[in-house]
């Protein structure tokens, strides 16, 4: 399994399929950081920043998952499946995409902590910002938990809306986009519920256990479907 993960990671890195998600994520975070004047206590600004960087992981990771699921030609994938198993191969692909999402999420959270000016009262520089953030451990922990929920949901969206479950490129891309928006905007989605709950209640005690559990179940279900279908039909043409 480690060799498989290494192989899939090498495909991700060498094919430069990580560049677009990284740029998109950076742009989304900067957009939020550039606009809007913070209102309210400093921890709220930090909480909002962390929520935003978590929320934007959903579309970004969904598309990163898509690029991993479409990165490898059917023929070389078949060779890997014969050498290991189709189930493990598909799992490795999804895991590597999720791993990329975790890295992005950490970068996003670090950015929010380091460069959120209102936390430190504008003046103490980067270290001051870190120091100020550490004074709000509950806010930090809640932000990271939110990042976790959004990672699970983003990966689930990517697995659900792309090959082998949805195989036509146009359908798959539109579905990915729509599902990502839905996951953010609807209370049915654990991430949407957690984010909404966050802005309603002026308290950092979120996401709730139900939402974490819901996101985990969503991930388990979509990954299982993706793996099972991948093992039964090939991504590309189902030719004899």
């Amino acid at each position: 399994m480690i060799a498989l993960l290494r192989y899939e990671t090498a495909i991700l890195l060498r094919s430069h399929r990580w560049v677009f998600p990284l740029i998109a994520y950076g742009a989304l975070i900067l957009t939020e950081a550039a606009g809007g004047t913070p209102v309210g206590p400093p921890w709220l600004s930090l909480a909002d920043g962390l929520d935003w960087s978590a929320a934007m992981l959903i579309p970004v990771l969904a598309f990163l998952t898509r690029s991993m699921l479409t990165a490898e030609p059917d023929a070389s994938r078949a060779c890997v499946c014969a050498a290991t198993s189709p189930v493990r191969t598909q799992l490795a692909t999804l895991l590597v995409a999720l791993g990329g999402g975790v890295l992005l999420g950490l970068v996003g959270a670090c950015f929010e902590v380091l460069l959120n000016p209102s936390v430190s009262g504008h003046s103490d520089g980067l270290l001051g910002n870190v120091g100020a953030a550490i004074e709000h451990p509950v806010t930090l922990a809640a932000g990271l938990a939110m990042t976790g929920v959004c990672l699970l949901v983003g990966s689930a969206v990517g697995a659900l809306c792309n090959p082998p479950l949805l195989r036509r490129p146009a359908t798959a891309m539109l579905a990915t986009l729509a599902a990502a928006v839905f996951a953010l905007a609807s209370d049915v989605s654990p991430a949407g519920a957690a984010l909404r709950h966050a802005s309603d209640a002026f308290s950092p005690h979120r996401p709730g256990g139900v939402q974490v559990l819901g996101a985990a179940v969503l991930l388990a279900v979509t990954w299982t479907a993706s793996v099972l279908v991948a093992a039964r039909r090939e991504n590309g043409s189902a030719s004899a």
Binding site: A3, I11, S15, A78, C79, C81, A83, S85, R233, A240
Partner: protein, 316 residues
């Protein structure tokens, strides 16, 4: 390794591509899989190799497997050698052992000079060599070759023939599909013939290097498959004797629609058995070849075995 009532289709509403296959893949056997285009040969190989899971039935006891696909388009962001090093690790060969094996196979297949070039930049034949190398790296107990010889040069074809012999001698099972009826002729322990209906008939022993049971129909449509069956049910056949046929030509003859069997003799003389209704088409094509002459044409004697789909030893 054993297949138990294995069936495969690519979706609930799709037709069965392969069905009711119950067979043993015994160690040390060389198995030729044959049948017209579109009869499910590739699908059967994929199920055997574990590339895809059977829709019905069970595949048990599959050993470590190397699989060479029909086409290997080099769409990966690696050089040939980097790809093979990754595949060596995926096959469980670590460190120096993997590196040695990779270099050995690049050398044997005559691809060492191109090992550092990106896969995208390689020719079809060179990509095929990389695909073959990745399957042979771990010395698999099961080797599955789906038209692996296509596009290879003489050195690589020879190296692959040798590798197949080595695997079989070492007690491994090798399954292959190839459109050249002369490929590994006389060395097969079994022939699995797919009829148009997805069922497999097994014949033991070599096919004698004839095209019997080879690809008698091109295109793979149901109509053509029907035509093959018609030939098999005694519409009559014609014997055609040709002179001046080169070895490559003999292979092409075996793939022509309507050719039921072909046997080469010395000095480019070939005796063809052709279904009557396609004999004109065969003659027209042959007469366009340089240096080939039609030495004789005659009615074939009624010989049920030659053109009926071979069925001896078929298992349920």
């Amino acid at each position: 390794m054993r297949l138990e009532s294995v069936g495969k289709r690519y979706g609930v509403r799709q037709p069965w591509v392969v069905r009711d296959v119950s067979l043993d893949v015994a160690a040390g056997r060389l198995i030729r899989v044959e049948g017209p285009n579109g009869s499910g040969k590739s699908t059967l190989l994929r199920v055997v190799a574990g590339v895809t899971v059977a829709s019905r039935g069970r595949v048990s006891g599959r050993p470590h497997t190397g699989y060479v696909p029909e086409r290997f388009p080099g769409g990966l962001p690696f050089s040939g050698r980097e790809y093979l090093l990754h595949m060596a690790r995926v096959h469980g060969l670590r460190g120096d052992a993997g590196r040695q094996r990779v270099d050995e196979w690049l050398e044997r297949l005559g691809a060492a000079g191109y090992a550092a070039a990106p896969l995208r930049a390689l020719s079809k034949g060179m990509c095929q060599k990389i695909a073959i190398a990745q399957a042979l790296l771990p010395q698999p107990r099961l080797l599955v070759l789906d038209e692996a010889w296509t596009g290879l040069d003489v050195i690589a074809r020879g190296a692959l023939d040798d590798a197949v012999a080595e695997r079989v001698a070492a007690g491994g099972a090798v399954l292959f599909v190839d459109h050249d009826p002369g490929r590994l002729a006389g060395r097969e322990a079994e022939r699995w013939r797919l009829g148009g209906d997805g069922r497999v008939a097994v014949a033991t022993g070599p096919g004698g290097g004839t095209a019997e049971g080879g690809d008698a129909a091109e295109g793979g449509g149901a109509a053509e498959r029907g035509a093959v069956r018609q030939q098999g049910t005694g519409e009559g056949a014609v014997m055609i004797e040709l002179a001046g046929v080169e070895p490559a030509g003999l292979a092409r003859l075996g793939e022509m629609p309507g050719v039921l069997s072909s046997s080469g003799a010395a000095a480019g003389r070939v005796l063809l058995r052709v279904a009557t209704r396609q004999s004109d088409a065969v003659l027209r094509r042959v007469l366009t070849w340089d240096g080939v002459h039609v030495a004789g044409v005659g009615r074939a004697e009624a010989d049920a075995n030659a053109d009926a789909p071979a069925n001896p030893g078929s298992r349920p």
